[in-house]
């Protein structure tokens, strides 16, 4: 749905993005991660046609942004980092204006705006002047304007920044709901938020794309396990090393007397069955009751820090 092809963007000769190629498939919710100055906002501004790339191509729904900006822009609703609100207008007038701008037929406009007001829970402030609204409401009006014109794609630049915890939760819930029938791309600093909402994460660093991770992917080849079992640690480590699926076993400091804590790296499964099943059987035979056995995954935080170091 959104494609960047070898995109470079220079600001007065200084690169903000360097040879970035990425693809956001239709229907997915994708998170764009990166430190400050990584090029997230630049990437989003390029996708929305706010400015053109210095080199490379931007395609929206298969159409080239430079060749046919109008139909590309019609497909996109954009909430920039600072919502583009006219403080002197009322919420309703503003949304009617944006809908007209997005070429909603005049007859259908009122109904369209009513639906958006309902969806974004703006009913009680619809007649209020935007300049008098709280930060949370302003952000919601920002999302509402992105929905005007019923775009298929929503691009949100740090939508939860500056909101209080309750507003943040509400905003996430709204994004989750919108993700059900839109392609959503949003940038964020908050890793847990991205993990909750996205099926894919793209990491930018110093203007380059360094990772695109499928968070839905569960079938990794190897798995890291944390094991705690009652019994002598050296004997247990040696016994576990005897299993074919175990690649690495190391004893760690155990928090409980008389138990052994062991960190394992295993092949997820081999011809003998799943690694966890084999470990269970081995320890049962050795009469070493398992107190804890859990899978350790790389958290997004770890990946992010490792990749951007």
């Amino acid at each position: 749905m959104i494609e960047l092809e070898h995109v470079t963007k220079l600001y007065g000769g200084i690169p903000a993005l360097r040879d970035v190629s990425l693809h956001v498939p239709a229907g997915q919710t994708v998170g764009l991660l990166g430190r400050n100055g990584a090029g997230k906002t630049t990437a989003l501004n390029l996708m929305t046609g706010y400015f053109p790339p210095t080199e490379g191509k931007v395609r929206i729904g298969g159409q080239d942004m430079l060749a046919d900006p109008r139909s590309c822009k019609r497909m996109i609703g954009y909430l920039p980092e600072r919502p583009p609100l006219y403080d002197e207008m009322s919420v309703e007038d503003y949304l009617v204006f944006v809908s007209e701008l997005r070429e909603v037929v005049r007859k259908a406009n009122r109904k369209h705006v009513d639906e958006i007001i309902e969806l974004c829970a703006l009913k009680e402030v619809r007649q209020r002047v935007i300049g008098h609204l709280s930060k949370g409401y302003r952000q919601r009006v920002g999302i509402a304007q992105a929905l005007c014109g019923a775009p298929e794609i929503l691009i949100l630049d740090e939508p939860t920044v500056g909101l209080d915890p309750k507003q943040t939760v509400e905003m996430r819930e709204l994004i989750r709901r919108l993700g059900e029938d839109h392609t959503v791309l949003f940038s964020s600093h908050i890793l847990s938020e991205v993990q909750q909402l996205c099926s894919r994460v793209i990491i930018l660093h110093e203007g380059r794309m360094i990772q695109s991770i499928d968070l839905a992917e569960k079938d990794a080849d190897t798995v890291r396990l944390k094991l705690r079992a009652a019994g002598p640690k050296d004997a247990l480590v040696n016994a576990l090393k005897g299993l074919k699926c175990v690649l690495k076993a190391e004893a760690e400091k155990s928090p409980e007397e008389g138990t052994a804590a062991i960190a394992l790296t295993c092949r997820t499964a081999d011809e003998q069955g799943r690694a966890t099943d084999q470990i269970f059987r081995l320890l049962a035979a050795a009469n070493a009751p398992i107190r804890e056995l859990r899978e350790e995954r790389d958290t997004l935080e770890e990946i992010f820090l490792r990749e951007t170091e």
Binding site: Y11, G12, T48, F51, K73, Y78, P84, E88, E100
Partner: protein, 235 residues
């Protein structure tokens, strides 16, 4: 384009700027009217209208300062530039909104003509030509100042730049009498908006004047579009 024009026009009257412009224009022109017409017991409308032309120079920055500079400052340009509207559509929409306020103001000043008509003689054809010059000159200033609003980063800078440029055009007129070199004087004469306006104020329908004003407007609108487009490319 029409959507933009409508919003800008609402913007003038949701904020004080539209009222300030019309109010100050009418206040100052009333003072002029009193001094020029009522106190002198004169019916010389053309001279009075020619004096009102100078008010465009002073007040057109109020009308244009927000148009593009504020969009940039408040980042609302992100909404316009990521919507399916073309850059010329945005610029012309904004220009027409400012011109609409200008026309409302010009329309209100017809009351002065009405007062003169009640007690003296007004020649409608002459008045129409006077007003054509009056309005065209206002429209030319608005186009120039709109361009400067696109160049400036904040409305205040836009207003200062616009006022400076308008004033410079006025000085061109004075310079022309001072410079020695004839060729330079000719160029200044050619560029002077005020000089171009003189025939209209004498009741002569000057096609050269109309053409000059329309070209002046077109040049600055095109320059505005080019400037905004160039900025998008980060050059």
């Amino acid at each position: 384009m029409n959507t933009i024009r409508k919003r800008e026009l609402q913007g003038y009257f949701y904020t004080p700027s539209g009222y300030v412009f019309i109010g100050v224009f009418l206040l100052v022109s009333s003072v002029l009217f009193y001094m020029q017409i009522l106190r002198q017991r004169s019916g010389d409308l053309p001279t009075f209208i020619a004096e009102m032309c100078y008010l465009w120079m002073l007040l057109s920055p109020i009308l244009t300062m927000r148009l593009l500079a504020e969009e940039k400052q408040k980042k609302t340009d992100q909404l316009l530039l990521t919507s399916p509207v073309s850059l010329p559509g945005i610029v012309i929409g904004k220009y027409l909104a400012a011109v609409t306020v200008l026309l409302i103001t010009a329309g209100l000043t017809l009351l002065f003509a009405l007062v003169v008509a009640l007690y003296g003689r007004v020649y409608p054809a002459e008045l129409a030509v006077n007003y054509l010059g009056f309005i065209l000159q206002g429209c030319a200033f608005v186009a120039l100042d709109l361009y400067l609003s696109g160049c400036a980063g904040t409305p205040v800078t836009a207003a200062v730049l616009a006022f400076g440029a308008n004033f410079l055009l006025w000085i061109l007129d004075l310079l022309e009498t001072v410079v020695q070199a004839e060729w330079l004087s000719e160029i200044l004469k050619f560029l002077s908006l005020y000089r171009r306006n003189e025939p209209f104020m004498m009741g002569q329908l000057s096609f050269a004047g109309i053409l000059f004003d329309l070209s002046f407007i077109a040049v600055f609108l095109v320059l505005t579009v080019f400037h905004l487009d160039r900025k998008r490319y980060g050059r």
